[in-house]
């Protein structure tokens, strides 16, 4: 289903040696982990092969962020045991607030690395919809998993971190929507992180068959301020012909983790993937969100908001690649940087040869709240076809003194005026999140982070 463009390398890259890092786990470790979690037998080889690749592959090179000194490979423990929840009532209160009351029947909750609660309505079950943890998925839906798990979406051998992820997957979810099934209510996945020694190697796989439609929303929620370890997260989304997937996420991971999060979409003919991502981590984060518009007439809308604070370093790549004819893409990113936080926004619209009448539009806006913060918005258009349209807008700026004057001239205090401007600045993405509770959570997280 996918084709890939050769990655452009800068001169000299190929000769650079990567520093060998010793990996925390051995082949024996991943094989016995595989047996312990009672996943499908083929997963043991999958992990072992990936681990071998992780040992030799190079690190990714996110544009404009130097990550050579970041720790992506060491962590206190690969897996921790956590409690399960008999009902949603038992969830910690921060987590409960994210769920829209009792009507949320379709939900998977993971407690650190432990699948802790799963519910799917009888109605959806009877239509063949699947929502389950990743281990069960490999057992019960082995064919589907073997077909899609890190094959056509994110490949195992893209670089050290994808290989490491494949070897160490210790959680995640599988969502499957059969042909012609239209799911009205959002499916929700909640990753609760409350053990500071836990590492998250979560894999999410969403497959929406032809003419289906689904809204998927996930939350990453650290309930403590500081943590150790890794969050190496991969999501793959397949929207088959004429399918529609809305993918909402709010990431709130604690300071101290190293976060690598890779969310990727592949579209069939006339399919559509919409992303609405609230990237609110306090950890140093490399986030990569790529959609391949493979099918003719397919489209993607990629919206993200970011708030950086403290001395946090973050790099966000949003990329849409046009392969099919008449494909349409819109990337919108808004970020607020406070204190001495750093963020790089790479927005990439790539149009391959033959993607006639493709339309690639992107907009990146960054609002700097302090003199010490650093923000960089890089709009990149790589176009190999003549008959296309493309556009980009990017800006990095401070709060407009005239807007402040206007608001304050109505009696609104400086702090409140700034708050209104920041929320307003982020609203185009926040308002797109499909679940009320999650929208509220994102608003509250923003409030907390910018205060």
């Amino acid at each position: 289903m996918t084709r890939r463009l050769d990655k452009k390398h800068k001169k000299g890259d190929d000769f650079k040696m990567t520093v060998e890092t010793t990996l925390a786990l051995t082949e024996q470790d991943v094989r016995s982990y595989s047996a312990n979690v009672e996943e499908a037998a083929w997963m043991a080889d999958f992990r072992a092969n990936a681990l071998a690749k992780a040992e030799v592959l190079a690190m990714p090179k996110p544009d404009k962020t130097k990550i050579t000194n970041w720790n992506f490979t060491q962590f206190p423990s690969h897996t921790v045991e956590s409690s399960i929840f008999a009902t949603l009532e038992e969830l910690p209160s921060e987590a409960k607030a994210l769920i829209d009351g009792e009507q949320q029947q379709n939900i998977y909750v993971q407690h650190n690395n432990t699948p802790a609660f799963t519910s799917l309505s009888e109605d959806l079950k009877s239509q063949g919809v699947i929502l389950t943890d990743i281990f069960t998925a490999t057992r019960e839906h082995s064919d589907l998993m073997q077909k899609y798990l890190m094959t056509d979406g994110v490949k195992v051998d893209e670089h050290k971190l994808t290989a490491l992820h494949a070897a160490l997957i210790n959680g995640g979810a599988f969502v499957y929507v059969p042909k012609n099934v239209v799911i009205e209510d959002p499916l929700q996945v909640l990753f609760i992180h409350d053990n500071e020694k836990a590492s998250l190697f979560n894999h999410v796989l969403v497959v929406a068959e032809a003419n289906s439609s689904v809204t998927y929303v996930e939350n990453y929620l650290s309930t403590m301020e500081h943590a150790e370890g890794q969050a190496n997260i991969v999501s793959e989304v397949f929207a088959m012909d004429n399918a529609k997937v809305v993918y909402g996420a709010v990431d709130v991971l604690a300071e101290g983790l190293t976060t690598y999060v890779n969310r990727r979409g592949i579209t069939g003919r006339d399919a559509r993937i919409e992303w609405a991502l609230g990237l609110m981590n306090d950890s140093n984060t490399i986030s990569e969100n790529i959609t391949h518009l493979v099918g003719n007439g397919s489209s993607s809308d990629m919206k993200s908001v970011v708030v950086g604070r403290g001395s946090q370093k973050q790099n966000f790549t949003s990329e849409i690649v046009h392969w099919g004819l008449d494909t349409d893409a819109f990337i919108l990113k808004h970020g607020v940087m406070k204190e001495s936080s750093t963020a790089i926004f790479n927005g990439i619209g790539r149009i391959a040869k033959g993607a006639t009448r493709a339309n690639a539009v992107q907009e990146s806006r960054m609002l700097m709240l302090s003199e010490r913060g650093r923000g960089d918005a890089n709009p990149i258009l790589l176009i190999d076809e003549d008959d296309v349209t493309a556009g980009h807008a990017a800006s990095v700026g401070r709060v407009d003194p005239l807007q402040m004057f206007y608001l304050m001239s109505r009696g609104i205090s400086k702090e409140e005026a700034e708050r209104l401007i920041i929320h307003g600045f982020l609203a185009p993405v926040v308002s797109k999140l499909p679940i009320e509770g999650v929208r509220k959570q994102l608003t509250e997280v923003i409030e907390r982070k910018v205060r």
Partner: protein
């Protein structure tokens, strides 16, 4: 009764003096109009009183009942009773008109004593109806994509909701067709009364056909050069400004810069 007193106000922008000693006293229950050709410092006066970041007051004073306005932050000036209807209001994405207004009202009230949502909506609805504004203007983002006329009505809506002691209206009539002009004038006349004073800045007489001022002042070269009653506005309408320039021996009435 409250009094807004401007004494010998000098104001600079980027090091260039625009106001060269303006003196004016406005009481509540009075409507003053400042007229004058373009570039004579009228808008600078309005912005400087409110505390616009670009304007620097170099000498003189502005007080409300003796309280020093120039010492106050912009929001404190608003809470002291000042309101400026701006010529070019800012557009603010993501902040709805209603949320903005409610923040403005609540800023004047104690914490815990915020206006109830129902009361707020009732009041907003009735004022919007009065100003013949579309209902969706409440939920649209502040001034974003508003036409020139909609922005002006929105300024008057804020005036009516916030009920200041003193309003300064900076060319509220520019770019309005005659129907909109009537609506806006109705809004201002509705505010007229015991607790309200107003300074209207305009260079057209036609607004004053709908809002009769008690006092009329003419600005030239960064100063008030002539004051009178409503008859002064009528004379300006029929005879223009040249007779004043002649009378005062003024050759170029501007301060040398669009202001």
């Amino acid at each position: 009764m409250a009094t807004l007193e401007i004494k010998d106000l000098h104001v600079e922008i980027d090091g260039k003096e625009i106001l060269k000693g303006v003196t004016l006293t406005i009481n509540t229950n009075e409507i003053h109009a400042i007229m004058g050709p373009n570039g004579t410092g009228k808008s600078t006066l309005a912005s400087a009183i409110m505390g616009h970041p670009k304007y620097e007051v170099t000498s003189g004073s502005v007080t409300i009942d003796g309280e020093d306005v120039l010492e106050m932050e912009v929001d404190e000036r608003a809470k002291a009773g000042l309101f400026l209807a701006m010529q070019y209001p800012s557009e603010i994405t993501g902040v709805t008109n209603a949320d903005f207004l409610r923040s403005g009202i609540n800023a004047r009230r104690e914490e815990g004593d915020e206006i109830s949502l129902m009361k707020f909506i009732r009041e907003l609805d009735s004022k919007m109806e009065f100003l013949e504004m579309d209902e969706d203007m409440a939920t649209r983002y502040l001034n974003e994509g508003f036409s020139g006329g909609e922005k002006k009505r929105n300024e008057i809506l804020q005036l009516m909701m916030l009920k200041p002691k003193f309003a300064i209206l900076d060319e509220i009539d520019s770019g309005l067709d005659i129907d909109a002009l009537k609506v806006v004038s109705n809004g201002i006349n509705e505010m007229r009364g015991e607790g309200f004073g107003c300074l209207i800045i305009t260079h057209y007489q036609r607004l004053l056909n709908y809002i009769e001022p008690d006092h009329v002042h003419v600005m030239m070269q960064g100063k008030v050069v002539k004051s009178g009653g409503p008859e002064l506005a009528a004379k300006l309408e029929s005879q223009g400004y040249d007779w004043i320039k002649e009378e005062l021996g003024i050759d170029d009435e501007t301060v040398g810069q669009e202001a």
